[in-house]
């Protein structure tokens, strides 16, 4: 009952935010977006349907992907702080994207680029698992160190690359939805959808996995296959998202924690709700990024950090984060 009410509530909020995202922006609309439905040609209509609409759609797809990716990362690494940007997964995606662009193999927003980012994420996930198989403090430090290496190398490549479309390091590090258009959304969505399906297929396994690798094995889980599918899923969620909008910090950390507070830790619910809340948070962040300091647009990732980090500290201090330390 509580879950159904939450679900309906979140869908409603998402719909309202989506409409607000079409309505609000640097160009002030004199009329409501509803009056522009079916109209084309005017400046207002073009702004709403060709700029704001794909951007809001991208926010929903990417926010959902990052929400699920956060839930997956925390589940797979059995660490409440395992956040894709923190443990090097997003840096892996950025690295893959930049290599693709710098070598001229894949332009920004292309399918090949999306694939390169996915491979970069998978590589980072494998290395993180390999370097730090334990779920203790060292795991996070290793992730942070590894992430710094990848970011630095990406920065070096950007500095010396002459390729157009490689974007600035700031774009990749702080994230922005400003480059999203229909073509990008069309490229990344299939990747992300496969990631979502794989993530959902892992739900029961993730529940069991939370009791430790041995218990998972005792209950008959194929550990190697589980890890493999989990890495592919997380790569398909993070890689395409980062290849389109850069790293958006804290969303993947915050969203699953809040969802656990509302619907509990069961991954059968956690994954779906994390997608919804992820989409909502990214829509809010993007609205703020566009509107708060208009006519300037601020980097989205700055806002998610600024909003997300304090909320997380409050949550953890309240000891209601639903995750007892395993130390």
């Amino acid at each position: 009952m509580k879950r159904t009410a939450t679900y309906i509530g979140l869908i409603t909020v998402l719909a309202v935010l989506f409409i607000l995202s079409l309505q609000i922006g640097i160009l002030h609309l004199d009329t409501s977006v509803f009056s522009l439905i079916g109209k084309h040609g005017s400046v207002a209509a073009t702004t709403v349907w060709d700029v704001r609409f794909p951007r809001a759609l991208g926010a929903v797809v990417i926010g959902g992907a990052l929400g699920i990716a956060g839930a997956l990362a925390q589940g797979i690494f059995r660490n409440p702080l395992a956040e894709p940007t923190l443990i090097g997964l997003s840096s892996g995606a950025t690295f893959g994207t930049i290599i693709g662009i710098a070598t001229g193999l894949a332009g920004y927003g292309s399918g090949v680029n999306c694939l390169a980012a996915t491979l970069g994420t998978a590589m980072a996930a494998v290395i993180t698992l390999f370097l730090a198989p334990n779920k203790n403090f060292g795991f996070l430090l290793t992730g942070i160190a590894f992430s710094s290496i990848l970011t630095s190398v990406s920065g070096l490549i950007i500095s010396i690359s002459q390729r157009p479309g490689i974007q600035s390091l700031s774009f990749w590090n702080f994230g922005s939805l400003s480059l999203i258009n229909f073509a990008t959304v069309r490229v990344i969505t299939p990747f992300i959808l496969v990631g979502v399906v794989l993530a959902l297929s892992l739900a029961r396994g993730l529940n069991i996995w939370s009791l430790g690798e041995n218990t998972a094995f005792y209950l008959g889980m194929n550990i190697r296959r589980f890890r493999f599918v989990a890495i592919i899923a997380i790569a398909l969620l993070i890689g395409p998202a980062v290849s389109a909008v850069g790293s958006i910090a804290f969303l993947g950390l915050l969203v699953p924690h809040v969802v656990r507070l509302i619907v509990g830790p069961n991954h059968k619910h956690l994954i779906g709700y994390s997608a919804l809340l992820g989409a909502i948070v990214l829509l809010i962040a993007d609205l703020l990024a566009r509107a708060a300091f208009a006519p300037h647009e601020v980097p989205l990732g700055l806002l998610t950090s600024l909003l997300g980090a304090p909320i997380l500290i409050i949550l953890l201090r309240a000891r209601r984060a639903q995750w007892v330390s395993e130390q």
């Binding site: 529940n207 209950l219 656990r260 995750w323």
Partner: protein, 200 residues
């Protein structure tokens, strides 16, 4: 039948077990005892398939556990480890659901009842006492549909009432399956077991 033929186990640089041989039959309850650090848990892990042995042979119904598929092993043996860490606030019912009803052993309902878990179903597992958590962990192992149950110190956090109930469960289980129980305190247990193994 579980056969242990002259097995030795090395952990790090210490030999925890040397040339140990035994058979553990179905329809029997076997008690394995020995002082702390004698290798009882290592032996359970070796039979469970999570710890490699140095020399010798282990087989469960002719199958080498360390080189078998998890799914195949799960049907042969179920394990209740000494400790399981419940890090997420699942309800007890959700933990039981880790094994879907259709895959559970036919004694699952009575097992949950005897372990006193039916009245805890809505409780969060992270908020239970150590003894209650141990019973949840035991329950999860005992409802798995396996030929053998390997229980590592199942009584350690239990009061006398639940110790008796768990012994009752073992009496029931061995009618159809095999049970291996590790315990360092064996005083009141002898009459319930058909075989006793001792590691020094």
């Amino acid at each position: 039948m579980i056969t242990l033929a002259k097995i030795s186990i090395i952990r790090g640089e210490t030999k925890v077990l040397q040339d140990f041989s035994a058979t553990i039959a179905q329809h029997q309850a076997t008690l394995l005892s020995g002082p702390n650090g004698s290798g009882k848990t290592s032996l359970i892990q070796a039979i469970a398939g999570t710890l490699p042995i140095d020399t010798g042979e282990i087989s469960i119904d002719g199958i080498d556990p360390y080189h078998s598929k998890a799914m195949e092993l799960a049907k042969l043996r179920s394990v209740a480890p000494q400790r399981r860490t419940f890090s997420l606030a699942f309800s007890v019912a959700e933990v039981i659901e880790f094994i879907p009803a259709r895959e559970r052993a036919n004694h699952w309902g009575s097992t949950l009842e005897l372990l006193g878990l039916k009245k805890l179903l809505t409780k969060k597992v992270t908020e239970l006492s150590i003894g209650q958590q141990q019973r949840v962990s035991l329950g999860l192992a005992l409802i798995q549909d396996s030929k053998f149950y390997l229980l590592d110190e199942p009584f350690s956090a239990q009061d006398s009432e639940y110790q008796i109930r768990i012994l009752q469960l073992i009496d029931e289980l061995k009618k159809e399956r095999g049970v291996l129980v590790v315990s360092h305190n064996t005083d009141s247990l002898h009459s319930h077991f058909d075989q006793e193994l001792f590691i020094s």
